[in-house]
């Protein structure tokens, strides 16, 4: 069975048809060409597919595409505004907070959701706030520093 979904993605009105049992991640990657969300595990353990659904941080591999109907989605592709990077994106580059970069979209989305809820997080709050996202390259050191710098920049 297929479903017809009308939704908003990164501010744009989007319609698509997908099987009722198709994960949102597959819809984004295979139907809509939004490959910024990555599949690292498919079981909600790595956070590489993180998106913000109606203001809530979710793993898009654990949500069905059909659930998007009438809702609003934020993905990594909508994080920069035109040519201007989001402060988190810029600080990730400035702090060398990425190496291979495959976890980076998920971290940026998770960090954006975290700072929205808590604009002035402690180091511990950042570490626990990002504990659902796996990075194997950096040891998280430069990621935490980049988030701290972005939070400071966004408060001023």
């Amino acid at each position: 069975m297929s479903v017809h979904v009308k939704t908003t993605i990164n501010g744009d009105h989007v319609e698509f048809v997908c099987p009722a049992d198709e994960p949102l991640l597959d819809v984004l990657r295979n139907r809509l060409g939004l490959t910024g969300a990555k599949e690292g595990c498919g079981t909600g353990d790595c956070g590489a597919c993180s998106v913000i659904l109606d203001g809530r941080l979710v793993c898009s591999c654990l949500v069905l595409g059909a659930e998007l109907n009438g809702k609003s989605l934020e993905t990594i592709e909508g994080m920069a505004e035109g040519g201007k990077l989001h402060p988190l994106q810029q600080q990730f580059i400035d702090h060398a907070a990425l190496q291979c970069g495959v976890c980076t979209p998920g971290f940026l989305i998770a960090a954006k959701a975290l700072l929205r809820k808590n604009p002035d997080p402690s180091e511990e709050e950042i570490r626990f706030g990002l504990a659902g996202n796996l990075c194997r390259c950096t040891g998280y050191d430069k990621i935490v520093r980049a988030v701290q710098a972005a939070a400071k920049e966004m408060r001023t």
Binding site: R29, C46, A96, C100, R136, T138, D141
Partner: protein, 754 residues
């Protein structure tokens, strides 16, 4: 021939700065394309059927029903892969690992694959393939596999390195010995001797991006492969061999790579995608699941190691011995031999001997994992060194400084060292504020040293000057941690232009000569060396063009700060010609300006590190938490210090996971019990503190800028340093990693009450 550097004292303008990476914006906006991020018109989806048994004869595979399912375009088994390896055992093992032939040798071994119009059809087709297995007894532990009555994996393995060669096949594929001096005499001279046995469990590289590729083979033999890999030239050569393709017709393009750490150094499922594409005459996309990544790719060996070291009361080590037993998974490898070579590499020893025993077990074929084999050897040796120093009553750092290898030391694995960094890292550790910081309750401090060889190898780089006076650099080594930035920095430094004037890309296999893969910490070391030589050749061309323009002798032209300068009396009125001016007039002075370099990058300088760590261990739960961590390592010359720090931190974090959490857990049936990130737990952000780094620069005389590989050594000391810290926190020596809470509690319970 190694290159002898003459400019290690050079004042750099670009090298050593922290420029912004050229792939940064693509990676923070989701635009960067990884293995699974590309598609082709008419592509099919491939899925692989894998053995549920650890060891079984494949009596029959019936694919007829699956083939008839609407939407299925191709089904393949080992029958589609005739053995074209021509007696090359390594390639034959890779072939058999990609697709099981007569036997399934581990849980997850591929037995068939399908290509269908979509994933759900492919899934349905897999269920329709009937495999008739005869299950055999299996073996997964190293010491069990080496027993004479162990279940036999291969009937054609006869232990290499033992004289006479055994006539009976076994799982024990290779023995090797390293060392020098008189071990018995050394132990006779010792006042104190410590002997211990150690075990380490199997871990996975844990890259976040699963293996993925898109293959397209045409009936005329032209083929394209888009793939995440650490070595696209190696993938091309291996796939061409196994499929009988001409290497020149198989064009491999490397995607961005979402981590590799050694796990993407040889082919796994790529030949299956190519064979399916050839059979279906359609492009085929194959993406592994995380379950598949754990069950059938990459892990490192589990090990069992015995160490015995003797020393005099004054702290001089008189004799050192180790026997190291590692497995290669289901196929023969020589990982124990690497362990035997690295085990005592940090020390200056008169009498030393190591014996390696490599074997096969019913686990996935192992691959390199960051400084492969060295962390386990260092775990065993450094714990023994720690215990010995304490028995003698000497400070553990002073004891190591007294015995540290130095320039001129004959290493335990043979070569004589040039200038090296083990002594300087130990002195830096001794004076580091971390060493004198107070410790909290239930907290212990550990320190340990580590070594890695570093590799060089075949490397090929093109530097092209564009008509507007900028430069492009084409390299053939995959960028796993920022090497495009680092190599562009080296070319900018040579040409005397800004970093923004140079763009470095990874070329595909049809546009550049063969390059070895990015392994052995060689990517930045060898490609920066080749890029520097290529840039110097381009400068020769530019000087020649300036000489022609000025109608003077080329010997009178110097290249300074991005421009040709005429030197000597009589040329004083000639205004320098910039790179931009020379590029713009190139069409009239001889055509495009370029420099090329093809080298075997010999002389990768060996690398040493010392790590310090504070660990709090809860005596009631056995849980250990890293409170503070410091990495001190020699980089030779840090081209981009942020990326060097990143390598130090990333290696330490992987070592922390290995030391405390990560391990393959097998059931009695030989099936992997924890093939997912929930149950195979790698460190998360809240598990770690900031990881402090100190970069030392002891120039490598064989690189024009003094660069050494930096990527791997940082994973070598953590297992040792952390276990020593837990030993100091709990008062009990811990000899089996990972130090998971149950294992620590068991060790505490078994220990005699103090």
């Amino acid at each position: 021939m190694g290159y002898e550097s003459d400019i290690v004292e050079r004042k750099f303008k670009v090298i050593g700065t922290r420029v912004k990476r050229p792939d940064g914006i693509d990676k923070v906006t989701g635009r960067a394309r990884y293995g699974a991020d590309t598609s082709a018109p008419g592509q099919l989806v491939a899925l692989v059927l894998r053995s549920p048994h650890a060891h079984a004869v494949i009596k029959k595979i019936d694919t007829s029903v699956a083939e008839k399912l609407p939407g299925v375009k191709a089904v393949i088994t080992s029958a589609d892969f005739p053995d074209l390896t021509n007696g090359d055992r390594t390639m034959r093992d890779i072939l058999e690992n990609c697709m099981a032939r007569k036997k399934a040798l581990y849980d997850g071994h591929a037995v068939a694959a399908v290509a269908a119009i979509d994933a759900s059809t492919a899934r349905a087709a897999l269920k329709l393939i009937k495999v008739d297995y005869q299950v055999l007894p299996h073996v997964v532990e190293v010491d069990d596999a080496l027993k004479s009555d162990a279940p036999l994996l291969h009937d054609d393995i006869f232990t290499e390195g033992i004289s006479p060669t055994p006539t009976k096949p076994s799982n024990f594929n290779k023995q090797a010995e390293y060392g020098h001096g008189d071990l018995d005499e050394g132990f006779r001279q010792a006042d104190v001797i410590v002997a211990r046995s150690f075990k380490t469990e199997q871990t996975h590289q844990g890259y976040i991006e699963p293996h993925a590729c898109l293959a397209s083979v045409s009936p005329d033999g032209m083929a394209e492969l888009w793939v995440c890999t650490q070595g696209h030239f190696v993938y091309r050569n291996q796939c061409a061999t196994l499929l009988g393709l001409d290497a020149n017709k198989l064009r491999v393009t490397s995607s961005e790579i979402g981590g590799g750490f050694g796990g993407k150094t040889h082919i796994w499922a790529e030949p299956l995608a190519l064979a399916l594409s050839r059979k279906a005459n359609r492009p085929v996309k194959l993406t592994m699941t995380r379950d598949e990544v754990f069950r059938c790719t990459g892990p490192t060996s589990s090990t069992s190691i015995d160490v015995k070291i003797g020393a005099k009361k004054d702290g001089t080590i008189t004799a050192a011995f180790a026997e190291l037993r590692y497995h290669g998974g289901a196929f023969p490898a020589n990982w124990a031999e690497f362990g035997a070579m690295t085990a005592f590499a940090c020390y200056d020893l008169k009498n030393v001997k190591t014996i390696s025993k490599d074997c096969v077990v019913n686990r996935p074929k192992t691959a390199a994992y960051r400084a492969p084999s060295a962390p386990m050897a260092a775990f065993a040796v450094e714990n023994t060194v720690d215990e010995l120093a304490k028995k003698i009553g000497m400070d553990v750092i002073d004891f190591r400084i007294k015995n540290a290898a130095k320039e001129g030391t004959k290493s335990s694995y043979g070569p004589v060292y040039g200038p090296i960094g083990i002594g300087p890292t130990l002195h830096a550790a001794k004076h580091h504020p971390h060493m004198s910081a107070p410790l909290g309750k239930n907290t212990g401090r550990g320190m340990a040293c580590g070594f890695w060889f570093n590799f060089g190898g075949q490397t090929c780089v093109d530097v092209n000057v564009t008509p507007d006076g900028n430069a492009t650099v084409a390299v053939g080594t995959i960028d796993v941690g920022g090497s495009r930035a680092s190599i562009a920095m080296a070319v900018a430094e040579e040409l005397g232009v800004g970093f923004d004037n140079v763009r470095c890309v990874v070329a595909d296999t049809s546009t550049l000569g063969h390059n070895d893969m990015t392994d052995g910490s060689r990517g930045t070391f060898s490609s920066s060396m080749a890029a520097i030589f290529a840039a110097r050749k381009a400068i020769e061309v530019l000087r020649d063009r300036a000489a022609k323009t000025w109608e003077i002798n080329v010997a009178d032209v110097e290249w300074i700060d991005g421009a040709a300068h005429a030197k000597g009396a009589g040329h004083g009125n000639l205004k320098p010609l910039t790179l931009k001016e020379l590029a713009e007039t190139a069409a009239n002075t001889g055509g495009p300006v370029a420099g090329h370099s093809e080298i075997v990058a010999d002389g990768a300088g060996v690398s040493f590190a010392t790590h310090l760590v504070d660990v709090e261990t809860d005596p009631e739960t056995g849980r250990s938490v890293i409170k503070r961590y410091t990495v001190i390592q020699d980089a030779g010359k840090a081209i981009h210090p942020s990326y060097v720090e990143g390598q130090y931190q990333g290696g330490a974090a992987q070592g922390i996971g290995w030391a405390l959490n990560e391990e393959y857990v097998y059931g009695k049936n030989g099936r992997l019990q924890n093939a997912g990130f929930l149950d195979y737990r790698i460190p998360v952000c809240s598990d770690l503190p900031f990881i402090d780094t100190q970069i030392l620069e002891i120039p490598n005389p064989h690189h024009p800028y003094g660069v050494r590989g930096v990527g791997e050594t940082s994973i070598v000391p953590p297992l040792a340093a952390i276990s020593i810290a837990v030993t100091n926190a709990t008062g009990v020596r811990h000899t089996h990693v990972p130090l998971s809470p149950p294992r620590v509690l068991a060790a505490l319970k078994a220990a005699p009450k103090a």
